[in-house]
Amino acid sequence: MLSLFSGTGYPVAIKMVLKRALMETDLEQLKDLVKKWEHFEWIEVPGLEDRLSRLKVELNSAGFDRWGLHPETLRKFAPMLYLLYHKYFRVETSGVSGIPEGRVLFIGNHGGQIPLDAMMAGLALFMDGEPPRIARAMVERWVPTVPFISTLFTRIGAMVGDPMNCRELLEHDQSVLVFPEGVRGSGKLFKDRYQLQRFGTGFMRLALETKTPIVPVAIIGTEETYPSVYNFEVLAKILGAPYFPITPFFPLLGPLGLIPLPSKVTVRFGEPMYFEGNGKEEEEKIREKVQRVKDALQGEINSGLKIRGEHIFTGAAK
Protein backbone atom coordinates (compact mmCIF):
# COMPACT_ATOMS: atom_id res chain seq x y z
CA MET A 1 0.00 0.00 0.00
CA LEU A 2 2.93 2.27 0.49
CA SER A 3 4.99 1.42 -2.52
CA LEU A 4 6.26 4.45 -4.33
CA PHE A 5 4.46 3.80 -7.58
CA SER A 6 1.26 2.31 -6.34
CA GLY A 7 -1.97 2.50 -8.27
CA THR A 8 -2.77 1.36 -11.75
CA GLY A 9 -2.01 2.45 -15.31
CA TYR A 10 1.07 4.38 -16.12
CA PRO A 11 2.65 4.44 -12.65
CA VAL A 12 2.91 0.66 -12.96
CA ALA A 13 4.49 1.02 -16.37
CA ILE A 14 7.05 3.49 -15.03
CA LYS A 15 7.87 1.11 -12.22
CA MET A 16 8.38 -1.76 -14.63
CA VAL A 17 10.61 0.23 -16.95
CA LEU A 18 12.68 1.53 -14.06
CA LYS A 19 13.10 -1.93 -12.62
CA ARG A 20 14.07 -3.36 -15.99
CA ALA A 21 16.58 -0.65 -16.64
CA LEU A 22 18.17 -0.58 -13.23
CA MET A 23 17.89 -4.04 -11.80
CA GLU A 24 17.28 -6.81 -14.29
CA THR A 25 19.91 -5.84 -16.84
CA ASP A 26 22.87 -8.15 -16.55
CA LEU A 27 25.76 -5.73 -16.34
CA GLU A 28 27.53 -7.41 -13.45
CA GLN A 29 30.58 -8.50 -15.41
CA LEU A 30 31.02 -5.12 -17.05
CA LYS A 31 30.54 -3.47 -13.67
CA ASP A 32 33.26 -5.62 -12.14
CA LEU A 33 35.66 -4.74 -14.92
CA VAL A 34 34.95 -1.03 -14.59
CA LYS A 35 35.33 -1.26 -10.83
CA LYS A 36 38.67 -3.01 -11.13
CA TRP A 37 40.04 -0.21 -13.30
CA GLU A 38 38.25 2.59 -11.57
CA HIS A 39 40.20 2.21 -8.36
CA PHE A 40 43.36 0.55 -9.74
CA GLU A 41 42.47 -2.58 -7.82
CA TRP A 42 45.25 -4.59 -9.47
CA ILE A 43 47.83 -2.62 -7.53
CA GLU A 44 48.94 -4.15 -4.23
CA VAL A 45 49.49 -1.69 -1.46
CA PRO A 46 52.08 -3.17 0.91
CA GLY A 47 50.97 -3.28 4.52
CA LEU A 48 47.57 -1.70 3.84
CA GLU A 49 45.53 -4.19 5.87
CA ASP A 50 47.92 -3.96 8.78
CA ARG A 51 47.79 -0.17 8.77
CA LEU A 52 44.01 -0.07 8.48
CA SER A 53 43.65 -2.49 11.37
CA ARG A 54 45.96 -0.46 13.59
CA LEU A 55 44.06 2.81 13.06
CA LYS A 56 42.63 4.14 16.29
CA VAL A 57 39.06 4.69 15.19
CA GLU A 58 35.75 3.69 16.73
CA LEU A 59 33.42 2.41 14.05
CA ASN A 60 29.71 1.77 14.32
CA SER A 61 27.78 -1.12 12.80
CA ALA A 62 27.68 0.65 9.43
CA GLY A 63 31.46 1.10 9.37
CA PHE A 64 31.53 4.86 10.01
CA ASP A 65 33.13 6.74 12.86
CA ARG A 66 31.51 9.59 14.78
CA TRP A 67 32.40 12.19 12.12
CA GLY A 68 31.78 10.10 9.01
CA LEU A 69 35.22 8.60 8.38
CA HIS A 70 34.73 5.40 6.39
CA PRO A 71 37.86 3.17 6.28
CA GLU A 72 36.28 1.04 3.54
CA THR A 73 36.35 4.03 1.20
CA LEU A 74 39.97 4.54 2.15
CA ARG A 75 40.69 0.91 1.30
CA LYS A 76 38.98 1.37 -2.06
CA PHE A 77 41.02 4.42 -2.95
CA ALA A 78 44.26 3.20 -1.37
CA PRO A 79 45.83 1.81 -4.58
CA MET A 80 45.23 5.10 -6.39
CA LEU A 81 46.55 7.13 -3.48
CA TYR A 82 49.53 4.81 -3.19
CA LEU A 83 50.38 5.41 -6.85
CA LEU A 84 50.24 9.15 -6.34
CA TYR A 85 52.18 9.04 -3.10
CA HIS A 86 54.94 6.57 -3.89
CA LYS A 87 55.26 6.59 -7.67
CA TYR A 88 54.15 9.98 -8.88
CA PHE A 89 55.31 12.39 -6.17
CA ARG A 90 57.85 9.95 -4.66
CA VAL A 91 57.16 11.34 -1.20
CA GLU A 92 59.87 11.25 1.42
CA THR A 93 59.17 12.05 5.06
CA SER A 94 61.26 13.13 7.99
CA GLY A 95 60.53 13.65 11.67
CA VAL A 96 57.54 11.26 11.78
CA SER A 97 58.91 9.50 14.84
CA GLY A 98 58.86 12.72 16.88
CA ILE A 99 55.08 13.17 16.71
CA PRO A 100 53.54 12.90 20.18
CA GLU A 101 50.75 10.43 20.98
CA GLY A 102 47.14 11.53 21.21
CA ARG A 103 45.73 14.85 20.06
CA VAL A 104 47.99 16.85 17.78
CA LEU A 105 47.44 19.99 15.75
CA PHE A 106 49.46 19.88 12.53
CA ILE A 107 50.15 23.28 11.00
CA GLY A 108 51.17 23.20 7.35
CA ASN A 109 52.12 25.51 4.52
CA HIS A 110 49.45 25.85 1.87
CA GLY A 111 50.00 26.25 -1.84
CA GLY A 112 49.48 24.72 -5.25
CA GLN A 113 45.82 25.56 -5.98
CA ILE A 114 44.32 22.19 -5.03
CA PRO A 115 44.78 20.51 -1.64
CA LEU A 116 47.46 18.05 -2.79
CA ASP A 117 49.50 19.23 0.18
CA ALA A 118 46.82 18.12 2.63
CA MET A 119 46.59 14.81 0.82
CA MET A 120 50.36 14.20 0.93
CA ALA A 121 50.67 15.18 4.60
CA GLY A 122 47.66 12.99 5.42
CA LEU A 123 49.10 10.06 3.49
CA ALA A 124 52.49 10.54 5.13
CA LEU A 125 50.81 10.10 8.52
CA PHE A 126 48.84 7.09 7.34
CA MET A 127 51.54 5.31 5.31
CA ASP A 128 54.67 6.21 7.27
CA GLY A 129 53.34 7.24 10.69
CA GLU A 130 53.88 4.93 13.64
CA PRO A 131 51.18 4.14 14.67
CA PRO A 132 49.29 5.06 11.48
CA ARG A 133 46.86 7.87 12.03
CA ILE A 134 44.16 9.73 10.17
CA ALA A 135 44.77 13.46 9.98
CA ARG A 136 41.50 15.34 9.84
CA ALA A 137 42.17 18.07 7.32
CA MET A 138 40.25 21.29 7.75
CA VAL A 139 38.90 22.34 4.36
CA GLU A 140 37.35 25.50 2.90
CA ARG A 141 33.76 26.42 3.69
CA TRP A 142 32.60 26.08 0.10
CA VAL A 143 33.67 22.43 -0.17
CA PRO A 144 30.35 21.01 1.11
CA THR A 145 28.60 22.55 -1.90
CA VAL A 146 30.83 20.73 -4.41
CA PRO A 147 29.24 17.46 -5.55
CA PHE A 148 31.26 14.21 -5.19
CA ILE A 149 34.25 16.02 -3.66
CA SER A 150 32.23 16.84 -0.55
CA THR A 151 31.22 13.20 -0.17
CA LEU A 152 34.72 11.82 -0.75
CA PHE A 153 36.30 14.31 1.64
CA THR A 154 33.92 13.40 4.44
CA ARG A 155 34.62 9.68 3.97
CA ILE A 156 38.38 10.07 4.22
CA GLY A 157 38.29 12.39 7.22
CA ALA A 158 38.30 15.96 5.91
CA MET A 159 35.95 18.49 7.51
CA VAL A 160 34.97 22.11 7.10
CA GLY A 161 37.51 24.27 8.90
CA ASP A 162 35.16 25.63 11.51
CA PRO A 163 36.52 26.31 15.02
CA MET A 164 33.63 24.27 16.45
CA ASN A 165 34.61 21.26 14.35
CA CYS A 166 38.27 21.63 15.26
CA ARG A 167 37.45 21.82 18.97
CA GLU A 168 35.18 18.78 18.76
CA LEU A 169 37.93 16.73 17.09
CA LEU A 170 40.70 17.82 19.46
CA GLU A 171 38.55 17.14 22.49
CA HIS A 172 38.20 13.59 21.20
CA ASP A 173 41.99 13.21 20.86
CA GLN A 174 42.12 13.35 17.08
CA SER A 175 44.92 14.64 14.82
CA VAL A 176 43.87 17.78 13.00
CA LEU A 177 45.65 19.28 10.00
CA VAL A 178 45.21 23.03 9.61
CA PHE A 179 46.50 25.47 7.01
CA PRO A 180 46.27 28.84 8.76
CA GLU A 181 46.97 30.64 5.48
CA GLY A 182 43.63 29.43 4.10
CA VAL A 183 42.83 30.49 0.53
CA ARG A 184 45.51 33.17 0.82
CA GLY A 185 47.94 30.25 0.73
CA SER A 186 46.35 27.79 -1.70
CA GLY A 187 45.71 30.49 -4.31
CA LYS A 188 49.16 32.03 -4.15
CA LEU A 189 51.12 32.59 -7.36
CA PHE A 190 54.23 30.70 -8.42
CA LYS A 191 56.47 33.65 -7.67
CA ASP A 192 55.27 33.64 -4.03
CA ARG A 193 55.86 29.92 -3.44
CA TYR A 194 57.06 28.85 0.02
CA GLN A 195 56.52 32.36 1.40
CA LEU A 196 54.02 32.00 4.21
CA GLN A 197 51.06 34.36 3.90
CA ARG A 198 49.27 35.96 6.85
CA PHE A 199 48.31 33.34 9.46
CA GLY A 200 44.92 33.21 11.11
CA THR A 201 45.06 33.04 14.91
CA GLY A 202 42.08 30.78 15.62
CA PHE A 203 44.17 27.62 15.63
CA MET A 204 46.37 28.90 18.47
CA ARG A 205 43.40 29.73 20.67
CA LEU A 206 42.02 26.23 20.09
CA ALA A 207 45.39 24.61 20.81
CA LEU A 208 45.68 26.53 24.09
CA GLU A 209 42.10 25.84 25.08
CA THR A 210 42.40 22.10 24.47
CA LYS A 211 46.08 21.86 25.56
CA THR A 212 47.14 20.40 22.24
CA PRO A 213 50.76 20.22 21.06
CA ILE A 214 51.43 21.88 17.71
CA VAL A 215 53.55 20.16 15.08
CA PRO A 216 54.65 22.28 12.09
CA VAL A 217 54.56 20.38 8.80
CA ALA A 218 56.57 21.66 5.86
CA ILE A 219 55.30 20.23 2.59
CA ILE A 220 57.89 20.79 -0.10
CA GLY A 221 57.09 20.17 -3.74
CA THR A 222 53.32 20.56 -3.93
CA GLU A 223 53.63 24.32 -4.37
CA GLU A 224 55.18 23.69 -7.80
CA THR A 225 52.53 21.26 -9.07
CA TYR A 226 50.35 24.00 -10.56
CA PRO A 227 52.56 26.99 -11.27
CA SER A 228 49.93 29.74 -11.26
CA VAL A 229 51.09 32.91 -12.96
CA TYR A 230 47.87 34.89 -12.69
CA ASN A 231 44.71 34.81 -10.62
CA PHE A 232 41.70 35.48 -12.88
CA GLU A 233 39.58 37.09 -10.17
CA VAL A 234 36.64 38.13 -12.35
CA LEU A 235 36.07 34.59 -13.59
CA ALA A 236 36.53 33.23 -10.07
CA LYS A 237 33.80 35.56 -8.85
CA ILE A 238 31.44 34.42 -11.61
CA LEU A 239 32.12 30.75 -10.81
CA GLY A 240 31.81 31.35 -7.08
CA ALA A 241 35.32 29.98 -6.51
CA PRO A 242 37.84 31.68 -4.22
CA TYR A 243 40.38 32.01 -7.06
CA PHE A 244 40.90 30.91 -10.66
CA PRO A 245 44.53 30.09 -11.49
CA ILE A 246 46.08 30.56 -14.92
CA THR A 247 49.10 28.29 -15.40
CA PRO A 248 51.24 27.77 -18.51
CA PHE A 249 49.12 24.65 -19.15
CA PHE A 250 45.71 25.57 -17.80
CA PRO A 251 43.31 26.45 -19.29
CA LEU A 252 45.39 26.50 -22.48
CA LEU A 253 45.72 22.69 -22.78
CA GLY A 254 42.24 21.98 -21.43
CA PRO A 255 41.94 18.89 -19.25
CA LEU A 256 45.60 18.04 -19.85
CA GLY A 257 46.46 21.22 -17.98
CA LEU A 258 44.78 19.73 -14.91
CA ILE A 259 47.52 17.12 -14.50
CA PRO A 260 49.82 18.23 -11.69
CA LEU A 261 53.52 18.50 -12.52
CA PRO A 262 55.42 15.53 -11.07
CA SER A 263 57.56 17.38 -8.58
CA LYS A 264 59.39 15.43 -5.90
CA VAL A 265 57.57 15.92 -2.59
CA THR A 266 59.11 15.98 0.88
CA VAL A 267 57.00 16.13 4.04
CA ARG A 268 58.98 17.36 7.04
CA PHE A 269 57.47 17.17 10.50
CA GLY A 270 59.01 19.65 12.92
CA GLU A 271 59.58 19.38 16.65
CA PRO A 272 56.31 19.44 18.66
CA MET A 273 55.66 22.85 20.26
CA TYR A 274 53.90 23.24 23.60
CA PHE A 275 52.31 26.54 24.60
CA GLU A 276 51.02 27.78 27.95
CA GLY A 277 47.68 29.56 28.19
CA ASN A 278 43.93 29.16 28.15
CA GLY A 279 43.03 30.59 24.74
CA LYS A 280 41.35 33.68 26.17
CA GLU A 281 44.39 35.99 25.98
CA GLU A 282 44.42 39.27 24.07
CA GLU A 283 45.05 39.09 20.34
CA GLU A 284 48.53 40.59 20.81
CA LYS A 285 49.78 37.69 22.94
CA ILE A 286 48.21 35.10 20.66
CA ARG A 287 49.78 36.71 17.61
CA GLU A 288 53.18 36.42 19.28
CA LYS A 289 52.73 32.68 19.77
CA VAL A 290 51.44 32.29 16.21
CA GLN A 291 54.56 34.05 14.96
CA ARG A 292 56.69 31.47 16.77
CA VAL A 293 54.87 28.66 14.96
CA LYS A 294 55.16 30.52 11.67
CA ASP A 295 58.90 31.01 12.16
CA ALA A 296 59.38 27.35 13.04
CA LEU A 297 57.44 26.33 9.93
CA GLN A 298 59.34 28.75 7.69
CA GLY A 299 62.59 27.38 9.13
CA GLU A 300 61.51 23.84 8.37
CA ILE A 301 60.53 24.87 4.82
CA ASN A 302 63.82 26.66 4.22
CA SER A 303 65.97 23.73 5.35
CA GLY A 304 63.83 21.44 3.18
CA LEU A 305 64.32 23.71 0.18
CA LYS A 306 68.04 23.90 0.85
CA ILE A 307 68.38 20.11 0.80
CA ARG A 308 66.34 19.90 -2.39
CA GLY A 309 68.28 22.65 -4.14
CA GLU A 310 67.35 23.25 -7.75
CA HIS A 311 66.18 19.72 -8.42
CA ILE A 312 62.43 20.31 -8.31
CA PHE A 313 61.50 17.13 -10.17
CA THR A 314 64.24 14.77 -9.10
CA GLY A 315 64.83 15.86 -5.52
CA ALA A 316 68.13 16.34 -3.82
CA ALA A 317 71.26 14.81 -5.25
CA LYS A 318 72.36 12.34 -2.67
Binding site: A62, P147, T151, N165
Partner: protein, 322 residues
Protein backbone atom coordinates in the same frame (compact mmCIF):
# COMPACT_ATOMS: atom_id res chain seq x y z
CA UNK B 1 0.48 7.53 38.27
CA UNK B 2 -1.80 8.86 35.58
CA UNK B 3 -0.26 9.92 32.27
CA UNK B 4 -1.76 11.74 29.29
CA UNK B 5 -0.19 10.95 25.94
CA UNK B 6 -0.88 12.91 22.77
CA UNK B 7 -0.39 11.41 19.34
CA UNK B 8 -1.79 8.26 20.89
CA UNK B 9 -2.61 6.51 17.63
CA UNK B 10 1.01 6.78 16.55
CA UNK B 11 3.51 3.96 16.88
CA UNK B 12 5.77 5.58 19.47
CA UNK B 13 2.94 6.41 21.86
CA UNK B 14 1.68 2.85 21.69
CA UNK B 15 5.16 1.42 22.27
CA UNK B 16 5.70 3.60 25.35
CA UNK B 17 2.22 3.06 26.73
CA UNK B 18 2.25 -0.70 26.33
CA UNK B 19 5.69 -0.95 27.91
CA UNK B 20 4.48 0.90 30.99
CA UNK B 21 0.81 -0.07 30.92
CA UNK B 22 0.49 -2.03 34.14
CA UNK B 23 2.53 0.52 36.09
CA UNK B 24 0.81 3.70 34.88
CA UNK B 25 -2.73 4.58 34.00
CA UNK B 26 -2.85 5.90 30.43
CA UNK B 27 -5.14 8.34 28.65
CA UNK B 28 -4.52 8.83 24.94
CA UNK B 29 -5.54 11.77 22.76
CA UNK B 30 -5.12 12.09 19.00
CA UNK B 31 -6.90 13.98 16.24
CA UNK B 32 -6.68 10.78 14.18
CA UNK B 33 -8.75 7.76 15.15
CA UNK B 34 -6.82 4.82 16.54
CA UNK B 35 -6.15 2.20 13.81
CA UNK B 36 -8.83 -0.45 14.15
CA UNK B 37 -6.42 -3.39 14.51
CA UNK B 38 -4.53 -1.86 17.37
CA UNK B 39 -5.32 -1.48 20.96
CA UNK B 40 -4.32 1.50 23.06
CA UNK B 41 -3.69 0.36 26.63
CA UNK B 42 -6.00 2.83 28.32
CA UNK B 43 -8.69 5.36 27.59
CA UNK B 44 -8.49 6.78 24.05
CA UNK B 45 -10.13 9.91 22.77
CA UNK B 46 -10.25 11.62 19.37
CA UNK B 47 -9.66 15.35 19.87
CA UNK B 48 -7.83 18.27 18.31
CA UNK B 49 -5.24 19.73 20.67
CA UNK B 50 -6.64 23.24 20.42
CA UNK B 51 -10.27 22.22 21.00
CA UNK B 52 -12.35 22.48 24.18
CA UNK B 53 -12.37 18.71 24.42
CA UNK B 54 -8.86 18.88 25.84
CA UNK B 55 -10.07 21.02 28.77
CA UNK B 56 -12.64 18.35 29.54
CA UNK B 57 -9.98 15.65 29.53
CA UNK B 58 -8.01 17.60 32.12
CA UNK B 59 -11.18 18.22 34.17
CA UNK B 60 -12.02 14.54 34.20
CA UNK B 61 -8.55 13.24 35.11
CA UNK B 62 -5.84 14.46 37.43
CA UNK B 63 -2.63 13.83 35.47
CA UNK B 64 0.77 13.45 37.08
CA UNK B 65 2.63 13.50 33.81
CA UNK B 66 2.04 14.44 30.18
CA UNK B 67 3.82 13.02 27.14
CA UNK B 68 3.40 15.32 24.16
CA UNK B 69 4.24 13.20 21.12
CA UNK B 70 1.48 14.54 18.90
CA UNK B 71 3.33 16.93 16.61
CA UNK B 72 1.70 16.83 13.19
CA UNK B 73 4.43 16.07 10.66
CA UNK B 74 4.97 18.14 7.57
CA UNK B 75 3.12 16.54 4.70
CA UNK B 76 0.78 17.46 1.94
CA UNK B 77 -2.05 15.81 3.83
CA UNK B 78 -2.44 18.74 6.20
CA UNK B 79 -2.40 22.41 5.29
CA UNK B 80 0.23 24.63 6.93
CA UNK B 81 -2.59 26.51 8.67
CA UNK B 82 -3.90 23.34 10.26
CA UNK B 83 -0.41 22.31 11.31
CA UNK B 84 0.18 25.71 12.88
CA UNK B 85 -3.14 25.44 14.74
CA UNK B 86 -2.31 22.00 16.05
CA UNK B 87 1.42 22.25 16.67
CA UNK B 88 1.74 25.81 17.93
CA UNK B 89 -1.67 26.88 19.23
CA UNK B 90 -2.46 23.35 20.38
CA UNK B 91 0.87 22.95 22.16
CA UNK B 92 0.49 26.31 23.88
CA UNK B 93 -2.94 25.27 25.09
CA UNK B 94 -1.62 21.96 26.34
CA UNK B 95 1.23 23.71 28.18
CA UNK B 96 -1.21 26.10 29.83
CA UNK B 97 -3.39 23.17 30.90
CA UNK B 98 -0.35 21.44 32.37
CA UNK B 99 0.45 24.54 34.41
CA UNK B 100 -3.06 25.14 35.70
CA UNK B 101 -3.75 21.50 36.51
CA UNK B 102 -0.63 20.82 38.52
CA UNK B 103 1.07 18.40 36.16
CA UNK B 104 4.47 17.60 37.65
CA UNK B 105 6.31 16.18 34.70
CA UNK B 106 6.11 16.99 30.99
CA UNK B 107 7.99 15.40 28.11
CA UNK B 108 7.77 17.01 24.68
CA UNK B 109 8.94 15.34 21.50
CA UNK B 110 10.33 17.88 19.04
CA UNK B 111 12.53 17.00 16.05
CA UNK B 112 16.09 17.50 14.83
CA UNK B 113 14.63 19.14 11.73
CA UNK B 114 14.49 22.38 13.69
CA UNK B 115 18.26 22.77 13.24
CA UNK B 116 17.80 22.78 9.48
CA UNK B 117 20.12 21.31 6.86
CA UNK B 118 22.74 23.87 6.03
CA UNK B 119 26.18 23.71 4.49
CA UNK B 120 27.59 25.58 7.46
CA UNK B 121 26.26 23.11 10.00
CA UNK B 122 28.99 21.96 12.36
CA UNK B 123 30.12 18.33 12.32
CA UNK B 124 27.92 17.55 15.26
CA UNK B 125 25.15 19.82 16.46
CA UNK B 126 24.70 20.36 20.16
CA UNK B 127 21.49 21.53 21.82
CA UNK B 128 22.53 25.19 22.00
CA UNK B 129 22.99 25.53 18.23
CA UNK B 130 20.77 28.07 16.44
CA UNK B 131 17.55 26.73 14.92
CA UNK B 132 18.06 27.55 11.27
CA UNK B 133 15.15 25.57 9.86
CA UNK B 134 12.52 28.30 9.66
CA UNK B 135 14.97 30.55 7.84
CA UNK B 136 15.42 28.23 4.88
CA UNK B 137 12.24 26.20 5.06
CA UNK B 138 9.01 28.07 5.85
CA UNK B 139 7.20 24.73 5.89
CA UNK B 140 9.14 23.81 9.02
CA UNK B 141 8.31 27.02 10.86
CA UNK B 142 5.56 25.38 12.91
CA UNK B 143 8.04 22.81 14.21
CA UNK B 144 10.46 25.56 15.20
CA UNK B 145 7.67 27.63 16.80
CA UNK B 146 6.55 24.61 18.78
CA UNK B 147 10.08 23.98 19.98
CA UNK B 148 10.39 27.63 21.02
CA UNK B 149 7.07 27.55 22.85
CA UNK B 150 8.18 24.46 24.74
CA UNK B 151 11.58 25.97 25.60
CA UNK B 152 9.98 29.20 26.89
CA UNK B 153 7.61 27.18 28.99
CA UNK B 154 10.47 25.13 30.40
CA UNK B 155 12.31 28.25 31.60
CA UNK B 156 9.25 30.18 32.75
CA UNK B 157 7.21 27.55 34.55
CA UNK B 158 9.62 25.77 36.86
CA UNK B 159 6.94 23.85 38.79
CA UNK B 160 6.31 21.68 35.73
CA UNK B 161 9.51 19.80 35.05
CA UNK B 162 9.76 19.94 31.27
CA UNK B 163 12.04 17.76 29.18
CA UNK B 164 12.29 18.48 25.46
CA UNK B 165 13.67 15.75 23.23
CA UNK B 166 14.88 16.39 19.69
CA UNK B 167 15.24 12.96 18.08
CA UNK B 168 16.90 12.30 14.75
CA UNK B 169 15.16 10.33 11.93
CA UNK B 170 12.93 7.76 13.59
CA UNK B 171 12.67 4.42 11.83
CA UNK B 172 11.04 1.17 12.77
CA UNK B 173 8.59 -1.49 11.81
CA UNK B 174 5.56 0.46 12.95
CA UNK B 175 6.63 4.00 12.14
CA UNK B 176 5.00 5.60 9.15
CA UNK B 177 6.88 8.85 8.61
CA UNK B 178 8.24 10.10 5.30
CA UNK B 179 11.74 8.65 5.61
CA UNK B 180 10.39 5.22 6.52
CA UNK B 181 7.91 5.27 3.67
CA UNK B 182 10.67 6.21 1.24
CA UNK B 183 13.01 3.48 2.46
CA UNK B 184 10.23 0.91 2.39
CA UNK B 185 9.00 1.91 -1.04
CA UNK B 186 12.00 0.25 -2.68
CA UNK B 187 12.95 3.35 -4.65
CA UNK B 188 14.45 6.30 -2.87
CA UNK B 189 15.54 9.47 -4.67
CA UNK B 190 18.77 11.13 -3.69
CA UNK B 191 20.59 14.20 -4.94
CA UNK B 192 23.20 13.35 -7.58
CA UNK B 193 26.73 13.95 -6.33
CA UNK B 194 25.71 14.32 -2.70
CA UNK B 195 25.65 11.56 -0.15
CA UNK B 196 25.27 13.13 3.26
CA UNK B 197 25.71 11.42 6.57
CA UNK B 198 22.47 10.61 8.32
CA UNK B 199 21.47 9.29 11.71
CA UNK B 200 18.62 6.98 12.48
CA UNK B 201 17.06 6.00 15.77
CA UNK B 202 15.03 2.86 16.14
CA UNK B 203 11.48 3.22 17.44
CA UNK B 204 12.36 1.00 20.40
CA UNK B 205 15.32 3.16 21.34
CA UNK B 206 13.21 6.29 21.11
CA UNK B 207 10.56 4.66 23.29
CA UNK B 208 13.30 3.80 25.78
CA UNK B 209 14.53 7.39 25.72
CA UNK B 210 11.00 8.68 26.36
CA UNK B 211 10.56 6.28 29.27
CA UNK B 212 13.85 7.48 30.76
CA UNK B 213 12.72 11.10 30.46
CA UNK B 214 9.34 10.27 31.95
CA UNK B 215 10.70 8.37 34.92
CA UNK B 216 13.64 10.65 35.75
CA UNK B 217 12.19 14.12 35.47
CA UNK B 218 15.14 16.40 34.65
CA UNK B 219 14.31 19.62 32.87
CA UNK B 220 16.28 20.43 29.75
CA UNK B 221 16.58 20.14 26.01
CA UNK B 222 18.21 16.99 24.74
CA UNK B 223 19.15 15.65 21.34
CA UNK B 224 18.44 11.94 20.98
CA UNK B 225 20.31 9.98 18.33
CA UNK B 226 20.79 6.33 17.55
CA UNK B 227 23.92 4.25 17.34
CA UNK B 228 25.90 6.35 14.87
CA UNK B 229 26.13 7.98 11.49
CA UNK B 230 25.63 6.29 8.14
CA UNK B 231 25.76 7.65 4.61
CA UNK B 232 22.39 8.01 2.94
CA UNK B 233 23.31 5.67 0.07
CA UNK B 234 24.42 3.00 2.55
CA UNK B 235 21.21 3.40 4.50
CA UNK B 236 19.16 2.97 1.34
CA UNK B 237 21.15 -0.15 0.46
CA UNK B 238 20.74 -1.64 3.92
CA UNK B 239 16.99 -1.07 3.67
CA UNK B 240 17.05 -3.12 0.44
CA UNK B 241 15.88 -0.14 -1.54
CA UNK B 242 17.28 1.31 -4.73
CA UNK B 243 18.80 4.76 -4.73
CA UNK B 244 17.86 6.87 -7.72
CA UNK B 245 20.27 9.78 -8.07
CA UNK B 246 18.46 12.85 -9.34
CA UNK B 247 20.45 15.76 -10.81
CA UNK B 248 20.21 18.81 -8.53
CA UNK B 249 18.84 21.07 -11.28
CA UNK B 250 15.71 19.02 -11.86
CA UNK B 251 15.25 17.59 -8.38
CA UNK B 252 12.61 20.00 -7.17
CA UNK B 253 10.26 19.47 -10.10
CA UNK B 254 10.98 15.76 -10.38
CA UNK B 255 10.40 15.19 -6.72
CA UNK B 256 7.08 17.02 -6.96
CA UNK B 257 6.12 14.71 -9.81
CA UNK B 258 7.20 11.62 -7.90
CA UNK B 259 5.24 12.73 -4.87
CA UNK B 260 2.17 13.20 -7.02
CA UNK B 261 2.45 9.84 -8.76
CA UNK B 262 3.18 7.96 -5.58
CA UNK B 263 1.23 8.47 -2.42
CA UNK B 264 4.32 9.34 -0.42
CA UNK B 265 4.67 13.01 0.38
CA UNK B 266 8.17 14.27 -0.29
CA UNK B 267 8.41 17.65 1.37
CA UNK B 268 10.85 19.99 -0.44
CA UNK B 269 12.90 20.62 2.70
CA UNK B 270 13.85 16.95 2.78
CA UNK B 271 15.96 17.52 -0.34
CA UNK B 272 18.25 19.79 1.64
CA UNK B 273 18.55 17.10 4.31
CA UNK B 274 19.54 14.77 1.45
CA UNK B 275 22.27 17.22 0.45
CA UNK B 276 23.87 18.55 3.63
CA UNK B 277 24.43 16.47 6.76
CA UNK B 278 22.62 17.42 9.94
CA UNK B 279 24.29 15.33 12.60
CA UNK B 280 23.22 15.85 16.18
CA UNK B 281 25.19 14.99 19.29
CA UNK B 282 23.31 13.21 22.05
CA UNK B 283 26.27 13.19 24.46
CA UNK B 284 24.31 15.31 26.93
CA UNK B 285 21.33 12.97 26.94
CA UNK B 286 23.57 9.93 27.32
CA UNK B 287 25.44 11.51 30.20
CA UNK B 288 22.38 12.88 32.01
CA UNK B 289 20.08 9.91 31.66
CA UNK B 290 22.52 7.05 31.14
CA UNK B 291 20.89 6.37 27.79
CA UNK B 292 22.53 3.87 25.46
CA UNK B 293 20.88 2.90 22.16
CA UNK B 294 20.45 -0.86 21.94
CA UNK B 295 19.44 -1.38 18.33
CA UNK B 296 22.19 -1.21 15.73
CA UNK B 297 21.39 1.17 12.87
CA UNK B 298 22.11 -1.49 10.26
CA UNK B 299 19.79 -4.02 11.91
CA UNK B 300 17.08 -1.47 12.26
CA UNK B 301 17.33 -0.62 8.56
CA UNK B 302 17.36 -4.30 7.60
CA UNK B 303 14.23 -5.04 9.54
CA UNK B 304 12.37 -2.09 8.12
CA UNK B 305 11.28 -4.27 5.25
CA UNK B 306 8.20 -3.77 3.16
CA UNK B 307 5.33 -3.06 5.50
CA UNK B 308 2.66 -5.66 5.82
CA UNK B 309 0.52 -3.21 7.66
CA UNK B 310 -2.01 -5.42 9.30
CA UNK B 311 0.28 -8.08 10.66
CA UNK B 312 2.85 -5.63 11.92
CA UNK B 313 0.50 -3.27 13.67
CA UNK B 314 -1.77 -5.84 15.26
CA UNK B 315 1.26 -7.56 16.72
CA UNK B 316 2.40 -4.36 18.35
CA UNK B 317 0.48 -4.57 21.57
CA UNK B 318 1.58 -8.09 22.48
CA UNK B 319 5.09 -8.88 21.39
CA UNK B 320 6.82 -5.53 21.54
CA UNK B 321 8.58 -5.19 24.81
CA UNK B 322 10.73 -2.12 25.13
Amino acid sequence: MKVLVTGASGAIARLVASALSPKYEWVGVDPRPCPSETHFPGEFMVADYHSRKLDDVFKKHQFDAVLHLGRIRESQKYSPQYRFQMNVVGTQKLLELCRTNGVKNLVILSTYHVYGAHRLNPLVIAEDAPLRASQSFPELSDAVEMDHAATHFMWKVREVRTTILRPTNVIGKHVRNTICSLLRSGICPRVFGFDPLMQFIDEKDLARALILALENPLPGIFNVAGEGVIALSHAIRHAQAMAVPVPPIVTASLVRLLAEVSKIPFPPYLLEFFKYPTIISDDLFRKTFGYQPKVKTVQSLHHLGPISARAAISGASQDESV
